[in-house]
């Protein structure tokens, strides 16, 4: 099947069981293919199914519900307002720019997906609304941002629409009528133990996600059978399901398992399942005649099931393996798993919205909008003295008179986050033991930082370019894992490293964080920005990059790691506006001490 057909099939399966399958992550920029896919989904969903768009920066109140202020003031008692999720019960939520979703909002959404209900307490009201729904997470990410992994774990299909031919429309494989009958058939669809086992085995062999993902694959297989009008999942349904659910998540190729003779034992083990299946299958498939494809044959014959199943796991695995996007595994290996599980970049939206985290520090006049929450008590207190003047008679049942000028919002004092960016020279000229020391310093600093809730990022540069080894994070676990695999050797592309640091620092500044750059290098640039060699050109490029960085006015620390302090390094440091520290014999502890001191100076 072509990727376009797979995308269309995912839409149809999701339309059959949105809540059961959790959802679809649609990776694509705004383009015809995405619009087409969304239109296709809408055409497949029964007309009475609610569909609702949710912006990524939705507040908790909008998402989960909260106090309906207007109704509350009118009724003189707290009245709850349903949030977007509860209002979409039984339907589909379209989550725009899902890569910008904050971990907090993602966690709220996850809880709702898990429970099938919104259960929370907000603004003095208890909220308990049914919300069985599916999510279409529209992922427009281009760089480091990713849809929170915890959400992806709950969505059955990851569909990548990038690179689709814009002229050929997506092939609609099913229509609304088929989806409707599949929906009514779905509760009766049975699946044999052997197929469950085969699907789980495929997920495990390919390292494709948690057990939850395997469960999603089982449900997808059910939806597939229902869509084909059969009340029993066949091998080909499981093949389709495995391919759609597991292939985009594969993290490894299956190990060629030691095929012992024990494989023959499987039919005996699972022999009971077809019998059991025959028992609980009193209702024959609703319309076998209509769907007389080649698959109907073995479904009718009780014995055929048994014959087909022993090989099912191999078939599913092979089909899934064949569908793994080309280059996916290579990319994963090169990233050393850095991006998988990267949920932290999503912090950006949260912080920029600002003003709602930290310690409460009094109230101020202002309206409730977006993330800023109205302080109801203070608002009422502000309104109270004016009631008589505004014409509310004492003891009457008239509404409380609140005018916009009474609105009060809580102010929060937020300590500015410090982001320490390490740019570590891993080139051949920096001796390898330097690298080990730099790693040690980063880890030690992180251990200190996480008490203060500071962020750390690591850029390494060697060979032709600089890489973001560790995106801004607080996690010791990730830092350790990423640092452990850091290789050394090659040229010194200092200019790229400085540019990379400037980019990261600029992003941090825009988020309202305080960046601090720590460069660990001998300053001997020998690779220019364009990747060509040559000491002079490289040094000139590095100087220019340093001046660009200086314009950001971020605090920087240039640690010269060469055995003898060198003038070129000092020049670059001066151009960056950095503190120049020749530390030929610095070890991890000294480095960490110097950086802590610099953080204390620059941060707050």
């Amino acid at each position: 099947m072509s990727p376009a057909e797979d995308a269309a099939l995912a839409a149809a399966l999701f339309a059959v069981d949105p809540a059961g399958l959790g959802g679809v992550c649609l990776h694509s920029l705004v383009q015809p293919a995405r619009t087409q896919w969304l239109e296709m989904l809408r055409d497949l969903l029964p007309r009475d199914v609610p569909v609702r768009r949710i912006p990524f920066n939705i507040g908790d109140g909008g998402l989960l519900g909260g106090l309906d202020l207007t109704a509350t003031l009118a009724a003189n008692r707290p009245i709850a307002e349903r949030g977007a999720l509860a209002a979409t019960d039984g339907g589909v939520v379209m989550l725009c720019m899902a890569e910008r979703l904050s971990p907090h909002t993602a966690a709220c959404l996850n809880a709702v997906l898990d429970c099938g209900a919104v259960i929370t307490q907000r603004d003095g009201v208890l909220i308990c609304d049914r919300a069985r729904l599916g999510v279409v997470a529209q992922d427009e990410s281009m760089d480091e941002e990713r849809v929170p992994a915890s959400l992806l774990d709950r969505l059955a299909f990851l569909v990548d629409l990038n690179g689709f031919d814009l002229r050929t429309p997506l092939p609609p494989l099913h229509d609304r009528e088929q989806v409707r009958s599949a929906r009514s058939l779905l509760p009766r669809v049975q699946i044999g133990d052997a197929l469950i086992e085969a699907l789980c085995g495929t997920g495990l062999a390919l390292g494709a996600g948690s057990v939850r993902v395997s469960l999603l694959a089982v449900r997808a297989a059910r939806a597939m059978a229902a869509l084909d009008g059969r009340s029993r999942v066949g091998t080909e349904d499981a093949v389709e399901a495995g391919r759609l659910v597991f292939a985009p998540r594969a993290t490894r190729m299956p190990q060629p398992a030691p095929k012992e003779e024990g494989n023959d034992a499987q039919p005996g083990e699972t022999g009971a399942s077809p019998d059991a299946a025959r028992e609980d299958q009193p209702a024959p498939p609703s319309s076998p005649a209509e769907d007389r494809g080649d698959n109907a044959a073995h479904e009718e014959l009780p014995g055929a099931d048994r014959e087909l199943l022993p090989g099912a796991d191999d078939v599913i695995l092979a089909a899934t393996q064949a569908a793994i996007p080309p280059g996916l595994l290579a990319r994963l290996r090169s990233e050393a798993g850095a991006r998988r599980g990267a949920a932290v970049p999503g912090r950006a939206g949260l912080l920029r919205a600002g003003g709602q985290r930290g310690r409460p520090a009094g109230t101020q006049v202002g309206a409730s909008r977006g993330h800023v929450r109205l302080n109801v008590m203070e608002t009422l207190r502000a309104a109270a003295p004016w009631q008589r003047l505004r014409g509310r008679t004492v003891g009457s049942n008239a509404r409380l008179m609140v005018v916009p000028g009474d609105f009060r919002v809580t102010r929060y004092l937020e300590r500015s986050q410090t982001l320490t960016i390490f740019a570590v020279d891993a080139s051949g000229s920096s001796a390898l033991h330097r690298l080990a020391e730099a790693k040690g310093a980063v880890e030690m600093l992180l251990a200190e930082c996480y008490v203060r809730r500071d962020l750390v990022a690591v850029i390494t540069f060697r060979g032709r370019r600089a890489d973001l080894l560790l995106p801004p994070t607080r996690s010791l676990v990730r830092a350790k894992r990423n640092l452990a695999g850091l290789p050394g050797g090659g040229g010194t592309p200092l200019a790229s490293a400085i540019d990379c640091a400037a980019l990261l620092g600029g992003q941090a500044l825009r988020r309202g964080e305080t960046p601090l750059l720590v460069m660990l290098t001998d300053g001997r640039a020998n690779v220019a920005l364009d990747g060509s060699g040559g000491r002079e050109a490289a040094h000139a490029d590095a100087l220019l990059a340093a001046r660009r960085l200086q314009r950001l006015r971020m605090a920087a620390l240039f640690i010269d790691t060469s055995p003898l302090p060198s003038p070129p390094a000092a020049d670059i440091a001066a151009a960056m506006g950095a503190n120049y520290l020749p530390l030929p014999f610095a070890d991890a502890r000294v480095l960490s001490g110097v950086v802590s001191a610099a953080t204390a100076r620059s941060g707050r």
Binding site: A107, D123, R357
Partner: protein
């Protein structure tokens, strides 16, 4: 919100994850152990297990009409209202399910600590206190999913209350205090952020769980979950007996745990183990002994033995080791090594 209103997955039907189940049971046997932190991979049934525990626990006696579910048998821990009730002779009691209160991430501070009762303030002009989640969790469990993503000011609040067992309310012109003793249960994924060390220390036991990598276990998880979702009532009925048996064992262990004999040799071994690991303070040792005692009671043993220490050492000590970022082996491996050296000798 109250877990009883939803059909939850039966505790006995949870596949594998023995360490997590054991830690939760120990916390249920002896709440003074001080809570459980469950850190691990996604999709490993963290929330499922904790919600299932709620359904498993036997009911408790509480004062009728008390917002904090005071224990009629413990006058020392009574709230102000219950003392008044007792003085007036109007104190009545009844059986209620052990509260397991979810602290959802989107929660606002007023719901956690309690706030001015808006309805009465608006309609009657009365200044009355409306208890929050901390009040409802008194004598029960407070469960925080994604505890590592909790907002800082809420974490500060929890650290304070978990230490003192009392909630101090100073807001909106209200000034009062009420009992808030609960077992803190937190879960999260370490890749999404670390936990503040102060909060980490409030948890008695900490469990690391991993995605099962054995096929048969994964298949069983998927099958049971699938069966549950397709017929909740039947599935719960099927597991009713094992759940009931487990409940009886927990109840029996609770009765026994107070009088559990702890031989000096075991105390010495525990001390040796903690010294070997260089854990800070006495809290580690106390927790280790308490947890071993709870485990021994649950095992229906005559006395605490070194074997109990060995089984509970990792969850009791794992999160109390001093962090050494340059040590590549995880805390679990360090504990294994120390257990081997201190307890096998």
């Amino acid at each position: 919100m109250q877990s009883g209103t939803r059909t939850v997955f039966p505790f006995s039907a949870i596949v594998g994850q023995e360490e997590m189940k054991l830690a939760l049971i120990c916390a249920a046997v002896d709440p003074s152990i001080g809570g459980v932190l469950v850190f691990g991979d996604r999709g490993t049934g963290k929330s499922t297990a904790i919600r299932a525990l709620a359904a498993l626990l036997p009911p408790m006696r509480a004062v009728v009409g008390c917002s904090y579910a005071c224990d009629p048998a413990e006058p020392d821990a009574w709230c102000v209202e219950c003392r008044e009730r007792a003085a007036l002779g109007t104190l009545k009691e009844r059986s209620i399910p052990v509260p397991v209160v979810d602290m959802p991430l989107g929660v606002t501070e007023d719901r956690v600590v309690g706030a001015l009762d808006l309805e009465r303030a608006l309609s009657q002009g009365v200044k009355a206190f409306e208890p929050g989640l901390l009040a409802r969790a008194n004598r029960g469990f407070l469960y925080i999913d994604e505890v590592n993503l909790l907002e800082d000011h809420l974490v500060d609040l929890l650290i304070d209350v978990a230490a003192s067992g009392e909630n101090l309310v100073e807001r909106e012109g209200l000034s009062l205090r009420h009992p808030a003793r609960f077992v803190l249960i937190g879960s999260g994924n370490p890749e999404e952020g670390e936990l503040r060390p102060q909060l980490l220390d409030r948890f008695g036991l900490s469990v690391e769980i991993k995605t099962p990598d054995r096929l048969d276990e994964r298949v069983e998880v998927v099958k049971r979950r699938d069966e549950f979702e397709r017929g909740k009532a039947e599935f719960v009925a099927k597991w009713k007996k094992p759940d009931a048996a487990l409940r009886r064992r927990i109840v029996a262990a609770r009765k026994r745990v107070g009088s559990m004999a702890t031989p000096d040799a075991v105390l010495e071994s525990a001390a040796r183990l903690c010294m070997q690991l260089g854990t800070d303070g006495l809290r580690a040792e106390l927790t280790l002994i308490r947890a071993a005692r709870a485990l021994a009671s649950f095992d229906q043993a005559e006395a605490v033995a070194v074997a109990h220490l060995r089984r509970i050492a990792a969850p009791a000590l794992r999160h109390r080791l001093r962090r050494d970022p340059l040590d590549e082996s995880g805390s679990s491996a360090r504990i294994d090594r120390a257990v081997h050296e201190a307890l096998e000798a």
